[in-house]
């Protein structure tokens, strides 16, 4: 498997048995490192997800930063919501934060809204070549329209949350192994 090596060094970036690679302890990872992962190249949203590891134009991610992103995908523990972190009321894997993570993948210009253009770009990434551009635009229009409540032609985070309120986000945006 092509991506085996980089994978492990991401999971154990502090060199647990992988000290030879990159020496991530010092430098952290750069986007190029993550892009080496072969499977990401065929993932339609791969690049965006890689980008989300590097907020604010950074070009390096250290281990805590890396883990912080992954933490979004921990399954929600329903037992003791208050016990986790008293200072921070919302843990990273809360429903809102999971949604926020998804939202910022759409919202490229970081203005807190998914515009029609942004929606269209995502659609273009995700829908096969068979769908014509015209259909894509209609879908984008429709999607924005469906979620848009205040009529500004864009989807704010609130509207985004609202449009997905029936969906089991806690389940859909969790990975078991990160428990």
């Amino acid at each position: 498997m092509v991506n085996k090596r980089p994978c492990y060094c991401y999971l154990f970036p502090f060199g647990l048995g992988h000290s030879g690679v990159h020496n991530p302890l010092e430098a952290g990872q750069s986007p190029a490192d993550l892009q080496q992962i072969g499977a990401l190249a065929v993932n339609p949203l791969g690049d965006r997800i890689v980008d989300s590891f590097f907020p604010d134009g950074n070009h390096r991610v250290d281990f805590p930063g890396f883990v912080r992103v992954l933490a979004h995908f921990r399954p929600v523990d329903e037992e003791d919501p208050g016990m986790r972190d008293p200072k921070q009321p919302e843990p990273l894997n809360s429903r809102t934060n999971k949604l926020r993570f998804a939202f910022q993948l759409y919202d490229l210009d970081r203005d807190g809204k998914i515009s029609r253009q942004e929606m269209l770009q995502v659609l273009r990434l995700m829908v096969g070549v068979q769908v014509t551009e015209e259909q894509l635009e209609s879908i984008a229009d429709r999607t924005v329209q469906e979620a848009d409540e205040d009529g500004d032609g864009a989807v704010s985070f609130l509207e985004f949350t609202k449009s997905l309120e029936k969906m089991n986000i806690e389940q859909k945006m969790s990975i078991r192994v990160l428990k």
Binding site: A39, P44, D47, Q121, Q130, E134, I139, T143, Q145
Partner: protein
């Protein structure tokens, strides 16, 4: 002779012909009249009905009839007994009559037959040949009775909301069985394993597989397998051993059974039954995860049951002491062979089926047949190879569903859906009814209180223990935990059913001495689980507040974001180096897209198979329909030209609709059909006959308002062609129009869009180009010229498929390219009227053969002006043509908006266009 009989007018009363079957040589009408006239007798129906029941020839020997034995339908023979029994003691008359009234038809038969018996010899004009038809006749009658019973049940909503249908059917079966038995003193109709396994079970399982929610199923496959395999083995072993233990303690008295007999019994009573589970859970609506686990288990445990039963049966045959370790190993090996082999057979047949449906374009009418035949063959094949037939047909359904649904036409898909549901539902009805009927047979009943009660106790208790243990293990690995409530429902939902009964009936009495005890206990268990648990599970679920499933239409947002979440998860799994569900799913869907779909799907289907697009299509269809309905309500479609929608492609649904308009699609369709002519075919025909432009223009203009013209097409009959009904036509028409409009408006707008797109995607592309020279997932191939390229692309998609080129697609593409050229030509000269509405735009270059099939609105006709005739004919029709303009304007507004850019930008874009 039969041919001659048609010459006879139907009112002819005297039936001359006689050629009585030997058994009916002597008329018995006198005898039966005798008992009829006895005082105190119940009188049911007309006299001739009664005589028919009684009249006729000699009764065949008792044991001979009335048993559905295998697929040879010996049951039919029984009915001859009913029809012809003359020597029946009078006191049974009323009951017989009751049954006869119930099935309603035979009276006539009997009456005629009897009359024949008395008539003179000679040339026969009408003959009565009951024997020729009796087999299918009786089967049909029973199905009719069962179906009628269902109608009766549903007359009272109160009853069906409390009592599951399966329970009612068993009750009905018991009553009918009682009647039959009382009349005949033998259990005439029973559910035989052959009928059950070959005819009744396959439709149910196929239905389950074909409509299986695949994602849910495979997402929980591990859990399902654990319950199905380990759980069933656990149930079988514990139940069998415990019963044996109790037997050794002497509580059951003297039974001629050894350990192996008990294990055999345990293994056949252990399996949860798919039919019973479906029947009960369908009415309970628990949440989908819970449902899929219980239901999946019931389907997949078939392999275990089959293997366990055959292993123990052969052990019983061998005798306990001769069983060696090798046999046990063989048993375990055979489990894997049976289950994996069955699955493999299913997958292979699914592949075949998908492949076949790819090439059925010209035989649309038999398309649905393939689905049933090939699936059924998978069942029979694996039965032939003594593999798990249920697994085979289940997986055949599961694997083929995606490709078949994409390949077959919409009508065929509907046909498949309804036929499958109908067959499954009918089979289920018959199974439960005959379970009830079969129980009325004193010969099979051997009562052993301890054995029966302990079996009931053990299966419930061990099921619960098994579920708890396995859930405990599973919850360490499952992301979605199974709560205590879920476990209660799972334990309680372990219903036993007809599979167990059929298996126990199959036992050989010579080998298994206590077969009758096993049969009666199985019946008790089945009845207890289906009736008692079936009745109580609904209140239980309500009381425990189990999460219910909610049925709703997926919204576009949910679909899109849901898909995005999948991608995100699989990317995160890639990054973190985990091989999990999402990873596997991603790999599979890649494989599916790149290999399987290419082989198994029509090219046109590949094109439109995107799920997001599908949801979009559905929503659009509804839109389009409500568009028209709204227009109709107001008498014109001009309303659509409102400020709020002027700058949007879609209908704005946030505008509140007047409450007088019912939004339901079916309502709209009904309305439309009655009032408006959207009958494509009649329009087409008319157009063909009167080929003058004015008339066509009339159609363009007034197709929304025309009342129905003549209906010649209705009277044509063809076995191979179904004239699509108006609703469908209308759907399609509106849909095509909408899509066509959008396609056109895109093509005109596309050039303008390039610029924006480019600006927004500049950053993205820069980086992507570095890595994506070879793999281009988004299809952003660099191209020379947009117009040229688009044309090629269109051609590629539309024309290169030899087996699949539906008419409308050809039209669309032809029109599309044409239109594009046109736009390129005249953008500069675009008048304020905007782009010609594509819907009404001319397609000059269509070749005649296509032209023949073009719907009116696509046909040549430059100007759209209502004809004089039209104005006269339909007074309400708008005399001002602007009223007709909704599509026109809505597309125009968008187009002109975008065109504004495009006309400016065109020169820059043309040379470097990289987008399609």
């Amino acid at each position: 002779m039969t041919a001659k009989s048609t010459l006879e007018p139907p009112t002819h009363l005297r039936i001359v012909g006689t050629q009585p079957p030997p058994s009916q040589a002597t008329p018995h009408s006198v005898g039966s009249q005798d008992w009829l006239t006895k005082p105190g007798q119940l009188r049911w129906g007309r006299e001739d009905e009664l005589t028919c029941a009684q009249g006729g020839g000699e009764a065949p020997p008792r044991g001979g009839g009335l048993r559905i034995k295998g697929h040879r339908h010996r049951l039919a023979k029984g009915w001859r007994a009913v029809g012809t029994q003359g020597a029946m003691p009078p006191h049974r008359g009323p009951l017989w009559a009751l049954l006869v009234v119930l099935v309603l038809v035979l009276p006539w038969a009997g009456a005629i037959e009897e009359e024949q018996g008395g008539a003179s010899q000679g040339f026969q004009i009408v003959t009565f040949k009951w024997h020729h038809v009796q087999d299918p006749y009786i089967i049909a009658l029973w199905i009719l009775v069962a179906s009628l019973a269902k109608i009766v049940f549903h007359l009272s909503h109160k009853v069906t909301s409390i009592v599951p249908e399966s329970v009612l059917l068993i009750m009905l079966g018991l009553v009918l069985g009682g009647i039959v038995w009382a009349a005949d003193h033998i259990a005439s109709f029973t559910l035989t394993p052959t009928v059950f396994f070959y005819y009744l079970l396959p439709p149910i399982v196929l239905d389950a597989g074909y409509f299986m929610p695949n994602r849910l199923f495979f997402g929980n496959l591990g859990t399902i397998l654990l319950y199905a395999v380990i759980g069933t083995v656990w149930n079988a072993a514990t139940t069998g051993l415990s019963l044996y233990g109790v037997f050794r303690s002497g509580l059951m008295g003297d039974l001629q059974s050894g350990l192996l007999d008990f294990l055999l019994f345990g293994s056949l009573i252990a399996a949860v039954d798919p039919v019973a589970v479906l029947a009960v859970f369908e009415e309970v609506h628990v949440n989908e995860v819970l449902f899929i686990i219980v239901f999946g288990e019931s389907l997949l445990n078939d392999a275990v049951t089959v293997v366990l039963c055959s292993v123990f049966e052969s052990f019983v045959t061998l005798g306990g002491d001769k069983v060696t370790g090798v046999d046990c190993v063989k048993g375990i090996v055979s489990f894997f062979v049976v289950s994996l082999g069955g699955t493999l057979v299913g997958v292979v047949f699914a592949f075949l089926l998908s492949l076949v449906t790819r090439f059925t374009k010209h035989v649309r009418i038999i398309e649905p047949g393939f689905v049933f035949i090939i699936s059924y063959l998978s069942y029979l094949t694996s039965e032939m190879l003594s593999l798990s037939a249920i697994l085979a047909i289940t997986f055949c359904g599961i694997c083929c569903q995606k490709y078949v649904k994409a390949n077959i036409s919409e009508q065929s898909a509907t046909t498949v859906r309804y036929t499958m549901k109908m067959l499954a539902s009918a089979a289920e009805t018959i199974i439960f009814m005959f379970l009830g009927i079969s129980a009325v047979d004193p010969l099979i009943w051997t009562w052993n209180t301890a054995f029966v009660l302990l079996t009931l106790l053990f299966i419930s208790v061990y099921r619960a223990i098994g579920v708890i243990l396995q859930t405990w293990i599973l919850n360490r690995y499952r992301m979605v935990q199974l709560e205590t409530i879920d476990q209660v429902v799972m334990s309680y939902g372990g219903l036993r059913g007809a599979v167990a009964y059929a298996l126990v009936v199959l036992l050989d009495k010579k080998k298994v001495k206590e077969k009758n005890l096993f049969v009666s206990t199985t019946l008790i268990v089945v009845f207890f689980t289906v009736i008692f648990q079936g009745l109580t599970i609904k209140p239980l679920v309500q009381w425990l507040k189990v999460k219910r499933s909610e049925q709703r239409e997926p919204k576009l947002n949910e679909k899109l974001h849901g898909r995005a979440f999948d991608h995100i998860l699989s990317a995160i799994e890639d990054i973190s180096g985990q091989i999990g569900h999402n990873y596997l799913r991603d790999k599979w869907s890649n494989f599916d897209r790149k290999v399987l779909s290419k082989i198994l799907m029509r090219r046109s289907a590949q094109k439109s198979r995107d799920r997001i697009l599908n949801v979009f299509h559905e929503l659009n269809l509804k839109d389009a329909i409500s568009y028209v309905a709204e227009g109709e309500r107001r008498g014109s479609l001009a309303f659509i030209r409102s400020p709020s929608t002027d700058n949007m492609v879609n209908v704005d649904f946030s505008t509140p609709r007047p409450s007088t308009v019912e939004a339901s699609v079916s309502y709209l369709l009904r309305e439309n059909v009655s009032a408006v002519c959207l009958d494509m075919q009649s329009l087409e025909q008319r157009r063909r006959s009167i080929r003058d432009t004015e008339d066509m223009v009339t159609h363009h203009t007034l197709q929304q308002y025309l009342y129905k013209p003549r209906q010649e097409y209705k009277h044509l009959y063809s076995r191979h062609k179904l004239t699509p009904n108006e609703t469908e036509k209308q759907d399609k028409e509106i849909f095509h129009r909408t899509m066509r409009k959008r396609l056109e408006s895109f093509k005109s707008a596309k050039l303008g869009m390039n610029q924006n797109k480019k600006a927004a995607k500049l950053y993205k592309r820069e980086r992507a180009q570095k890595r994506r020279n070879s793999s281009i997932p988004n299809g952003k191939l660099p191209m020379e010229s947009p117009v040229h390229n688009f044309a090629i692309k269109e051609k590629d998609l539309e024309f290169s498929d030899p087996e699949e080129a539906p008419d409308y697609e050809v039209e669309e593409s032809t029109g599309g390219i044409e239109f594009l050229v046109k736009v390129t030509k005249d953008t500069a000269s675009d008048s304020p009227a905007g782009i010609e509405n594509p819907v009404f735009s001319p397609d000059e270059d269509l070749d005649p053969s296509i032209l023949d099939r073009v719907p009116p609105w696509l046909s040549p006709g430059e100007t759209v002006v209502p004809s004089q005739r039209a104005r006269v004919q339909i007074p309400q029709s708008p005399s001002n043509f602007r009223h007709l303009a909704p599509f026109h304007l809505s597309s125009k507004s968008v187009d002109s908006f975008l065109m504004a850019d495009s006309s400016k930008e065109r020169t820059h874009i043309l040379p470097e266009s990289t987008h399609m």
